[in-house]
Amino acid sequence: MWLKSAGTIQFDWMKRATTADAAGQRSFRTISGRTIDELYTPADVAGLDYQRDLGDPGQFPYTRGIHRTGYRGRLWTMRQFSGFGTPEETNQRYQHLLRAGGTGLSVAFDLPTLMGRDPDHPLSLGEVGKCGVNVTSLADMETLFDGIDLGSITTSMTINSPAAMIFAMYLVVAEKQALRRGSAQGGAWQTLSGTIQNDILKEFIAQKEYIYPPRPSMRLITDIFRFCAAEVPKWNTISVSGYHIREAGATAAQELAFTLRDGVEYVQYGIDAGLDVDTFAPRISFFFNAHSDFFEEIAKYRAARRIWAHVMRDRFKASNPRSLQLRFHTQTAGVSLTAQQPYNNVVRTALQALSAVLGGTQSLHTNSLDEALALPTAEAATLALRTQQIIAHETGVTAEVDPLGGSYFVETLTRDLEDEALAYFDTIDRMGGMVAAIERGYPQREIAESAYAFQQAVESRGQIIVGVNDFVAEDEASIGILYIDDTTAERQIAKLQRLRASRDNGAVRKALDALADGARGEANTMPLLLDAVRAYATIGEMCDALRVVWGEYEETPVI
């Protein structure tokens, strides 16, 4: 582990950290490969104008935060992503998380649900309930939120290709709860709050859970914008996501650039669909990754707010301040966690979470220590939540609205990340926008290059990962993990068969035909989906009705 050199003890990590590069200069780099200078001084921020470039928190361009009082006014929402197995099992986990002091729910769906397939479809083999909860119809959604008042919590749902179908199920559950209480359905929707991820562009770019081609997929999204502006005004209609882009291997600057450029694309499509920007832009939110490079991540969040404020004001002429304010959820970086020495993941997650808090996140998911091994156990999920509570209540970092504003280093990083992202904006604009860039495979290739470069850095030990390529332990004790058994699939398929036997199949057929007809024409698909959901059409049936009209997307694989 160490070697002796000229009478002083040198550990081999010290040797690497001070290795000279080809030019004879000592080189320090971020995890994204950005070179960091030894010291930043007033000269680095000489071009910065406080009012123009930073502003107080709550003031344009919101670099220092969107709220005047920061976390003094209100803490971030501690929103732990969870879901596994059947709706019954996940409902129990939600009740546990709410009792443990969680302040919002975040639903993880399984792959059949995410891909719009029923559990008895051949491609669902082995996947039911494995990566999240299986939700096939309204009946499952009713079970998932049994005993949880949707009017008193906010729910985030990580669902993209079939976002409209799942959202319709949620709306009908809220409607039924309101009717049971004796209040009007419309009232329930007017105050209902939560988020659907609904970000199809990053699926094409990174996560690859797409169904339809890009253009009809964008139509589903603008249908939701229009529907919610009138019917569900407090709902966050899209969570434009950099998380998956980063997990796929992007650098911090690429995550920032592609995510915000996706946001630009959604706004442009909304405007092109005839919507007034200030009716839907305030409900657009973002979702970033909190990776391990502490200051680069903080700078990324600050740059994101500044870029978005400028884009919305200058490019789209938005005037509602809420259209200009970038709100975001953060999840710590799953990709940074290791199967080796899993308890180290608690420490990684805590530091990543702290960067998100210092960057001004509105809500946060902290990963569990067993993320690289399986879905979290209840104990691991609780520890992850406790990590956030310790940051919030013990570290004191919430007392000051923006403790790092004005740091020569952080402000320089913020500006550099902004410049890099805007250069990507220019490239993508020249290609004709993000949909066109995706069709050419541009962001996909950029990310693949970065992913490979990172892996090479790990192999050469230019990038140290504790417990993986250094500080390796020979004998590691294994930890208990959650194992999803195959009875989940059997139970979900049995329920589906009972549903198909008991519902009014004529009404289902009629609703699905109306949905397909609407999709062929110009009708908003949301009311048609709500009708299909009320008739207990399944997710596979609704998605298939649109597959027939729009076809399925297949990417050309690139390495």
Binding site: L111, P112, L114, M115, R117, P122, L123, S124, L125, G126, E127, K130, C131, E203, Q207, K208, E209, Y210, E247, A248, G249, V335, T338, A339, Q340, A372, L373, A374, A448, A451, Y452, Q455, V458, E459, I465, G467, V468, N469, S478, I481, Y483, I484, E554, E555, T556, P557, V558, I559
Partner: protein
């Protein structure tokens, strides 16, 4: 399918090991599959990447068509105990038992002996150096690549 050829100028005259890298199931997280495909190519192997959402039937058929020495499966979703036995079974049916199957992804410890029992010994968990995968394939696939005349 995306085919990439290694740079033949720095290789010896030995036949190239031919590897089909596949993403079975519904999952789209293909970072690992693509990084490994490139690493194997850079190590001088012939790599065929199937792309996403391949059934075991499609994967084995690709391996047959491509005369693959190795099938590499990338599975992160937990579906490995359904997919791997089916791939091995199909290889048996087609008289391709000598094709080496390796798996990378999130595989719980308890499943490793069960995969070994199927004849799958190359199981690569998160954090595995690319070089370990390259060496495993070289060590185990070289004999087959040399015994089968290249088409």
């Amino acid at each position: 399918m995306g085919r990439i050829r290694g740079n033949s100028s720095n290789l010896t005259a030995l036949p190239k090991v031919r590897v089909v890298i596949a993403k079975p199931g519904l999952d789209g997280h293909d970072r690992g599959a693509r990084v490994i495909a490139r690493a194997l190519r850079d190590a001088g192997m012939e790599v065929i990447y199937t792309g996403l959402r391949q059934t075991p039937e499609q994967i084995v058929s690709a391996a047959l068509q491509e005369d693959a020495d190795v099938i590499g499966l990338s599975i992160l979703s937990g579906a490995h105990m359904h997919i791997c036995p089916r791939v091995v079974e199909l290889l048996g049916e087609k008289g391709m038992r000598d094709v080496i199957v390796v798996v990378g992804g999130i595989i719980p410890d308890v499943d490793i002996p069960r995969l070994n029992a199927l004849g799958i010994h190359g199981i690569f968990l998160p954090g595995t150096p690319m070089q370990d995968v390259v060496e495993f394939i070289r060590r185990n696939a070289r004999a087959r690549a040399e015994s089968v005349p290249s088409s």
